[in-house]
């Protein structure tokens, strides 16, 4: 252990919900995107799942909202170090979308695409089983544009760059391909509990 002389850190209580290397952002919700926030309205928004699926499908705003509602109550973790506790997102579980398109058994990975062109890659298993959502509400209000509104992907058990803002679609693949940040030195999976921040972690 490389102790820093005179460093004590903030007064703290052990929080078992805080992954290693993270701090509690409290009420703050920092915005971290490398791109210009798009002017994207609900009427412009669409969401498509294609690739290795039986029935590729595109939902518009109303069609997506016609699926069964599902909320996430819990925590989120950003690779830059902050975590945010007790957040509530409203939307639809990705399971409901996958139920329509029926993934092939050969599908192992997913590239998530944003309306801006941003991409991120995920194992398909991280998006199924009630662990991922398309969300458009935050704390009961419409999701703000700078946080990915009108709708974003939510994969709260991974670092938040995987939760692509302004989500446009998912393409199912039988192999892994790096997305935007993964091609810029970040980890392929991004599990906060294993501190999978950068390539090589």
């Amino acid at each position: 252990m490389n102790v820093t002389r005179g460093f004590t850190g903030r007064p703290r209580v052990h929080n078992p919900g805080l992954p290693p290397g993270q701090y509690d952002a409290g009420e703050d919700w920092p915005v971290l995107s490398a791109e210009v926030t798009p002017d994207l309205t609900a009427a412009d928004w669409s969401f498509r799942i294609d690739g290795l699926v039986e029935r590729p499908h595109t939902w518009d705003w109303d069609a997506a909202h016609a699926l069964p509602e599902s909320a996430y109550d819990g925590d989120i973790h950003c690779v830059t170090g902050w975590s945010k506790f007790g957040v509530r997102f409203g939307g639809v579980s990705l399971d409901a979308f996958f139920h329509v398109v029926r993934p092939h058994v050969s599908a192992t990975h997913v590239i998530a695409r944003s309306h801006t062109g941003y991409t991120t890659n995920l194992p398909l298993a991280d998006l199924t089983g009630g662990r991922a959502w398309i969300v458009w509400a935050y704390g009961g209000e419409p999701l703000p544009a700078e946080h990915g509104g009108p709708a974003r992907l939510l994969v709260p058990h991974l670092y938040f760059w995987k939760s692509a803002k302004w989500i446009a679609g998912l393409t199912l693949l039988d192999h892994d391909e790096p997305g935007f940040w993964e091609g810029n030195g970040y980890h392929e999976r991004g599990n906060p509990w294993e501190e999978q921040r950068y390539s090589g972690d």
Binding site: V3, T8, A34, G81, R113, G183
Partner: protein, 263 residues
């Protein structure tokens, strides 16, 4: 130091039927996994005050593999009880072979890590760093660069300015930087003709006071260099939103704007 410019094949255009909100800005450089994964001990060599709230910390990192201007690192401090605090900081210095890098840190109110640097740290202290990290906000010095920053958002941009000077590059570069007043303008004595400061609260006699506007951005976009500008925006989220919208409104393509925001 790697300066390989790569394209990013994993960035297709936006979704079908979507509006014209293209981004897909390719990464600028390849990032070394090996270098980025290793924690190194850095020894504080020198502290220089820049403004009442910001100081530059020069670190000796003998095995530093080099960086590209605009890249950042991850820094960690460890308390005696094992508690660790990690923060990302942009690198302020230009790439060189001195075995040193410089960080310029604002003293954030209640800042756990910046507080230690500003009130406890002295030459000879050691911290740990890993990096350089990320290939996105990097500028190897190959394309005309339009830099827009506010507050300590000038830090990665100054690395670019210093790099251009050190290498005597002739590629066009202009910088717009916003500060509350002249005494809070970081690196003020180093800024040259490439830089236009914008003062939001106080300014020298005869210099206007106010936030950055279209009138600051328009002249720079009117004098487009060959191949156009690559824009780099760094600052708080509020500033980054404002500045990036000014750029878009003035005609800068969204896929040629790179943004680094801090909370």
């Amino acid at each position: 130091m790697t300066e390989t410019v790569t394209t990013n094949p994993g960035a297709p255009a936006g979704g079908p039927g979507g509006p014209a909100t293209r981004f897909a800005v390719p990464g600028r450089i390849a990032v070394s996994e090996r270098v980025a994964a290793v924690w190194q001990t850095a020894t504080l060599a020198e502290i220089r005050r820049e403004t009442p709230h910001a100081a530059t910390f020069r670190l000796a990192v003998p095995d530093w593999a080099g960086h590209v201007p605009g890249q950042h690192l991850l820094l960690r401090l460890t308390a005696a009880d094992g508690y660790v605090a990690q923060r990302h900081y942009s690198i302020a210095s230009a790439p060189d072979d001195s075995g040193h890098i410089e960080l310029t840190l604002d003293h954030v109110p209640d800042g756990e890590v910046s507080g230690w640097f500003h009130t406890v740290a002295r030459p000879g202290d050691t911290v740990e760093v890993r990096g350089p990290l990320s290939g996105f906000f990097a500028w190897p010095g190959d394309r005309p660069a339009l830099l827009i920053g506010a507050g300590s958002g000038i830090v990665p941009l100054m690395s670019m300015v210093r790099h251009r000077r050190r290498r005597a590059l002739t590629v066009p570069l202009r910088m717009l930087v916003s500060a509350r007043g002249p005494e809070e303008l970081i690196y003020a004595s180093e800024l040259g003709a490439e830089t236009t400061p914008v003062f939001t609260r106080t300014a020298p006699q005869g210099v206007p006071v106010g936030r950055m506007t279209a009138a600051h951005v328009a002249p720079l976009l009117a004098e487009q260099p060959s191949g156009g500008w690559e824009a780099y925006v760094c600052g708080s989220n509020g500033f980054a939103e404002h500045a990036s919208r000014l750029l878009v409104a003035a005609g800068q393509p969204v896929d040629r704007i790179r943004i680094e925001r801090f909370g």
